[in-house]
């Protein structure tokens, strides 16, 4: 039987606010344990939560970017469960009335088509603290610095049909929250986390199978591997006459397997109810319009503009707009390179990206600035240097030896375009290789390449290749 996977993702994006969602404690990462956990975060008696305006504005930004309904009125609810890293005994979340309603996100599939993925909702909630199980005799250590950090939980419809689609959706959302400046997207630090609901059904059927929820998917690679593994596990289970149990499974990256955590408690066991400490959140039309006016150009619009304005192929435009920082760098390069858009695309995606990858650096840490890269491209364009020499110049610039003009000057790399000088080198090369000359003139014209090589070598790679070719051909044939 042919099986069809059905996947929905729940993504938790940590909002890039300075302070917690309900208290004025700092959210800076990496502080000493519990130095950023105030009385509200600790759930001490008598404290009251006060909602962070920026967290609300960030949620609205995402809602607008997903073309979703932003609720004029939404409600915070208590989700009750006991765990030591949740001091109040409940998490403040949103349940029946979330701040962001139905929206959608378009993803690009491998075959070049796009697919619209429904977004069910996005709601604001607070993060829990961290439990450290290692290193204490029969005890667990609790760090509450993270408790109360604002999260936006973004829930997709079960519209995804493969692990690859799930990754494409997750990457698109990751790019979007970073474009919007609402989340730093740092997956190692847990700023962008993913749970996946996975089920399978016979292809063609419209009902859903029983789903398992996969947790702990903290990289794009793990998401793909864990989902594929889970799909296989469920198909095997069903084909062997078994049944999928609704449960939470934890992905173990070392063993590449998922294992059962606990039978998933029914949703009503959380006993959600409106939090009496918080009034309904009101988002006015005018605030929504104000925030709409602040939205940056979004990835899809930018990609379309890159194709139209710079004449780039869809693939190049997609790569260059994957992050706002890369897109900004590219555009600054084009400006500095007098509008040489395709040349700039080749260099940013080729030489520069290669060097950044090798050094493990982000585009924002590039040792070569966009202005300097553009300057280098100008020298290629005005034929001061060849494309080949430009790679050497780039390497020197990468190593901090100055901008293109400085490197070209100090290393004497300026291309030789003086016809007289090239002619002299050509004459010399011909005179030094009489045998090859004879063979060439006897019809072995492939030897042109040999002569070009000799002249380029003599010039230290600096002779203008086109001129060398022309002059050689004229002299050899003459």
């Amino acid at each position: 039987m042919e099986w069809e996977p059905v996947i929905g993702l729940e993504i938790h994006a940590q909002l890039a606010t300075r302070t917690k969602i309900f208290s004025g404690a700092s959210t800076a990462y990496g502080a000493e344990p519990n130095t950023q956990a105030c009385a509200v975060d600790l759930g001490l008696p008598g404290v009251l939560p006060v909602l962070n305006e920026q967290a609300v504005r960030f949620a609205v930004r995402l809602g607008l970017a997903l073309d979703a309904e932003v609720a004029g009125r939404s409600v915070f609810a208590r989700k009750n469960y006991f765990y030591p890293d949740l001091p109040k005994g409940y998490q403040i979340s949103q349940y029946e009335l979330p701040v962001v309603g139905t929206g959608h996100l378009d993803i690009d599939l491998e075959d070049g088509t796009t697919k619209r993925i429904g977004v069910t909702r996005a709601h604001l909630e607070e993060d829990a603290g961290k439990s450290l199980h290692e290193g204490f005799e029969a005890m667990t250590g609790i760090d509450l610095n993270r408790a109360g950090t604002p999260l936006l939980e973004i829930v997709s419809e079960p519209d995804l049909r493969s692990a690859k689609e799930a990754v494409a959706y997750m990457k698109k959302l990751h790019s979007l929250v970073r474009y919007l400046g609402i989340c730093d997207g740092n997956m190692q630090e847990g700023s962008f986390r993913c749970d996946a609901n996975v089920s399978v059904r016979p292809k063609g059927e419209s009902g859903f199978g029983t789903r398992a929820e996969l947790k702990n998917l903290n990289s794009f690679r793990f998401v793909e591997r864990a989902i594929n593994h889970e799909i296989e596990r469920q198909i095997e289970l069903i084909e062997d006459g078994g049944e999928v149990v609704q449960e939470t499974r934890l992905y173990d990256a070392d063993k590449n397997e998922t294992r059962s955590m606990r039978t998933k408690e029914e949703a009503n066991d959380y006993r959600y109810f409106p939090d009496p400490d918080l009034l309904p959140l009101e988002v006015t039309r005018s605030l929504i319009e104000e925030i709409r006016g602040e939205l940056p150009e979004l990835p899809d619009a930018k990609k379309a503009r890159f194709e139209a304005d710079y004449g780039l192929p869809a693939y190049d435009a997609g790569v260059l707009t994957a992050s706002r920082e890369l897109a900004d760098y590219y555009e600054a390069t084009v400006t500095a390179a007098d509008g040489e858009a395709k040349l700039a695309a080749n260099w940013v995606m080729g030489e520069l990206s290669g060097a950044l990858n090798k050094a493990g650096l982000d585009i924002t840490d590039s040792p070569v600035s966009a202005a300097d890269l553009g300057g280098l491209l100008c020298r290629i364009n005005d034929e001061t240097i060849s494309g080949k020499i430009a790679k050497d110049v780039f390497e020197a610039m990468w190593n901090g030896e100055g901008d293109a003009d400085t490197v070209i000057e100090s290393k004497g790399l300026k291309q030789v375009t003086d016809t007289g000088a090239i002619e002299a080198m050509v004459d010399e090369a011909i005179a030094a290789n009489p045998t090859q000359l004879e063979q060439y003139r006897a019809g072995k014209t492939k030897l042109l390449g040999f002569f070009v090589g000799q002249v380029m070598k003599a010039s230290g790679g600096k002779a203008n290749p086109q001129q060398v070719n022309e002059i050689l051909r004229r002299k050899l044939d003459g």
Partner: protein, 95 residues
């Protein structure tokens, strides 16, 4: 509505309350009576009534995103049962 003994045990577990086995029938009767009492509200036609999330008919006031809390770890941990290396210690929890 009538709660049976297993429902009482389940609710007690969710609330982490230890209740005496012998008290279960009393809890079941009392809780059932409370639910029945509140259940009278279901008989009221609320078709024209807007749902109320909070008795105060106001919107939530918002706070500017500025750090206003200083580190008071020492004071907080002075009243904690056990701490080590800046962490609060609790009996070991394993998933």
């Amino acid at each position: 509505m009538s709660l049976d003994a297993s429902a009482v045990a389940h609710i007690a577990h969710l609330a982490r309350l230890g209740i005496d086995e012998s008290a279960v029938p009393d809890y079941a009767r009392n809780l059932s009576e409370i639910i029945d009492f509140v259940e009278q509200l279901s008989g009221v036609d609320t078709g024209d009534v807007e749902p109320l999330a909070h008795p105060l008919e106001m919107g939530q006031r918002l706070r500017p995103d500025e750090v206003s809390e200083t580190d008071q770890r020492e004071r907080f941990q002075a009243i904690a049962p056990a701490t080590e290396a800046g962490l609060y210690l609790v009996p070991r929890v394993i998933e």
